[in-house]
């Protein structure tokens, strides 16, 4: 540990040079903007800006690209809270309570707690990255295909349990998401599936189109059906002291922030889109532990604090497998791996030994970047919260316009806009019929990984389903899944008995 501290001090001396501080600041600002703009997520943002780092040394380049990554995670919550449009995938869950808080005139506390939680989660996670990187990365290797499959099944069932009012409806949405995830090329054989001869669908269903469509456009269309007097109504304008969280808000959120940090850090070490899974897992934990679970979905501050902390925590800890094993566990770290290779640096077990200056300078820059992001985001809370002063009949066309422009910019494709509009109509119907969008989106992201894990497990076991039960971690996850499936059934069975008991009392 002492050795790590010494190296870290050396890293700080390199990260605080004027040049590297400037790149860290640029990365944080650009990342925040990328996160705020719907459609432009960290993947597209980093991919677009890799060429801009060609003239830099590898350390400065990685400091800037990492800044863009965690900056986007900070910024992504803003549009989720204000407009119900997730800026990037890890902010989908923030829409649920964040948007409700904004509708109640509490956008300020939601944005502020999101920035504070992101700072705390990110910073504690970097501490973990500093001291626990090698041993934790080894533990993550214990996960094989069977464990991944069971983990994802567990995730879907848990998510279906905590979002919405009907487990069946949520599970059906998850299966629809999994089916949509099979469109494109078979990840194992490379054969076409459900493309109907279209080259556009070969790459699969564009996630951003589904996210903006189901959440953003669906909400806009529901609002567009409102009569003029409702569209004229403005969200209650908060007074200045209401723009920041009260002491009670902070007290209620602190536990969620600390738990979100732990959940995010753990999930970041596991392969998959860590920040996305971390937000769902954290939301589930918060709702389960809450004394007032009925407040979730109606603007519970813990529903913003936990997931927003978790996604930043997971973002930082996802660097552990990238740096220590050289294995990117998610799409963003995969792009960062590509950027490192372009700069002549090969991540892996030898990275810390061969490029200690780069490794420790990047770690040190993360501490600085997180602090910069907190300083950048908190002062802007009143500005962002005031966006809601505009009546809906002005806001709706503007948000619609941003959605179309953002959607086009992802792949420069008008077909993406059509797909987004199609899912917008679906999102509208889902709202009218009370179906949840979150399980569909998570399933769409995890579907291909789940299929590969499923097929690999059965290939290894020669078609024997017992493989999922013989491996202890997988068995525990499946048993936990069963418990979550049984909870609503038991609740339904005991409801009449409890009612009778209460009426007798």
């Amino acid at each position: 540990m002492l050795e790590s501290l010494q190296y870290l001090i050396g890293g700080f001396s390199l990260a605080t040079t004027t040049q590297n501080l400037a790149y860290c600041l640029i990365g944080a600002i650009v990342g925040t903007l990328i996160g705020v703009l719907p459609g432009l997520g960290p993947i597209a943002g980093i991919a677009l800006l890799i060429p801009a780092t060609f003239g830099l040394n590898p350390t400065s380049a990685l400091i800037m690209l990492a800044g863009i990554y965690y900056g986007a995670m900070y910024g992504g919550s803003t549009t989720s809270i204000l407009m119900n449009v997730p800026g990037e995938t890890a902010s989908v869950i923030t829409c649920i309570d964040g948007y409700q808080m904004a509708q109640q005139g509490r956008a300020g506390p939601a944005l502020a707690i999101s920035a504070i939680g992101s700072f705390i989660g990110g910073t504690i996670s970097i501490l973990g990255l500093t001291f626990l990187a090698p041993p934790l990365a080894e533990a993550a290797l214990a996960f094989g295909p069977a464990e991944f499959f069971s983990l994802m099944v567990f995730g879907f069932v848990v998510l279906s349990n905590v979002t919405g009012t009907s487990l069946l409806k949520a599970l059906m949405m998850a299966v629809v998401g999994l089916i949509l995830g099979t469109v494109g090329l078979d990840p194992v054989t490379g054969n076409e599936r459900f493309t109907f001869g279209s080259t556009y669908l070969l790459g699969g269903v564009e996630f951003v189109a589904v996210a903006i469509g189901v959440f953003g456009i669906g909400e806009i269309l529901v609002n567009a059906a409102n009569p003029a007097e409702l569209l004229e109504r403005r969200v209650r304008v908060p007074r200045f002291r209401e723009l920041y969280p009260s002491l009670q808000d902070l007290k209620r959120s602190m536990g969620s922030i600390l738990r979100g940090t732990g959940v995010g850090f753990g999930v970041g070490l596991v392969p998959g889109p860590a920040p996305v899974i971390a937000t769902y897992a954290s939301y589930m934990v918060e709702k389960r532990l809450s004394k007032r679970p009925e407040e979730f979905g109606k603007g519970a501050i813990q529903g913003v604090a936990g997931p927003e902390t978790a996604n930043n925590s997971a973002t930082q800890s996802a660097f552990i497998p990238l740096f220590v094993l050289g294995i990117p566990f998610g799409p963003v770290t995969a792009i960062l791996l590509g950027a490192l290779l372009i700069h002549g640096v090969t991540p892996g077990p030898l990275l810390i030994g061969e490029h200690p200056q780069l490794f420790w300078a990047v770690i040190a820059s993360m501490y600085i970047g997180n602090f910069i992001l907190l300083l950048l985001n908190l002062p802007f809370v009143p500005l962002f919260a005031n966006i809601l002063r505009a009546p809906k009949k002005i806001l709706l066309p503007l948000v619609m316009f941003i959605c179309i422009t953002g959607m086009y910019s992802v792949n420069n494709s008008i077909l993406d806009i059509w797909l987004m509009l199609g899912f917008g109509v679906l999102g509208y119907l889902m709202r009218r019929w009370a179906y949840e969008g979150a399980p569909l989106l998570l399933a769409l992201v995890l579907g291909p990984k789940m299929e590969v894990a499923f097929r690999q497990s059965l290939m290894i076991s020669h078609g024997d389903f017992g493989v999922f039960l013989r491996r202890p971690i997988s068995l525990i996850l499946l048993l936990a899944t069963l418990v979550f499936l049984l909870i609503p059934v038991l609740r339904a069975l005991f409801r009449p008995w409890r009612k009778r008991a209460v009426s007798e009392v």
């Binding site: 009012t165 054989t189 054969n191 709202r431 020669h462 339904a492």
Partner: protein
């Protein structure tokens, strides 16, 4: 439309059946050596099963009032307004290539503001031109995204 989701349940049942049928046209293989169609076939069958259970037990399960999802509320307003709103977006998307991004966006914003009841043309023109101008600067000049320019680009 009913908020209990029955029409959705029927649609999902059909969607599951179509998925299963289309999957059967692909090589399915065995669990030991799964083919391209096996996973979607399992999903199609699973969706059919879940939708069937949902439709059969719909009355037994407590109806989900629009208590959690704000969007599940029944909109008391006009569907005509929403359809006009959607129609304007579809038209603008159709015209995006021939007219170009600046013109089609400007027209779209004007139309949407008017459909939602803002009748002051001067105000609408100001909002539409400022928004289009800022978006053009950010996306085309700063982010270098090749948005279609249509007639203006020729």
């Amino acid at each position: 439309m009913k908020a209990d989701g029955t029409p959705g349940g029927v649609l999902l049942l059909v969607f599951g059946a179509v998925t299963a049928l289309l999957s059967l046209r692909m090589p399915v293989g065995t669990f030991r050596a799964a083919g391209t169609g096996l996973f979607p076939l399992c999903l199609g069958v699973l969706l059919m099963a879940l939708a069937s259970i949902f439709l059969l037990t719909r009355r037994a399960v407590a109806p989900p009032p629009a208590q959690r999802d704000a969007g599940s509320r029944e909109a008391p307003g006009s569907h005509r307004q929403m359809l006009l709103f959607l129609g304007a977006i579809i038209l603008a998307t159709l015209l995006l290539d021939p007219l170009g991004y600046p013109l089609s966006s400007f027209g779209l914003l004007l139309a949407l503001l008017r459909i939602l009841g803002i009748k002051q043309w001067r105000r609408n023109l100001l909002i539409a031109s400022v928004t289009t101008g800022v978006a053009y600067l950010v996306f085309v000049h700063w982010l270098k995204i090749p948005l279609p320019m249509g007639w203006l680009g020729r």
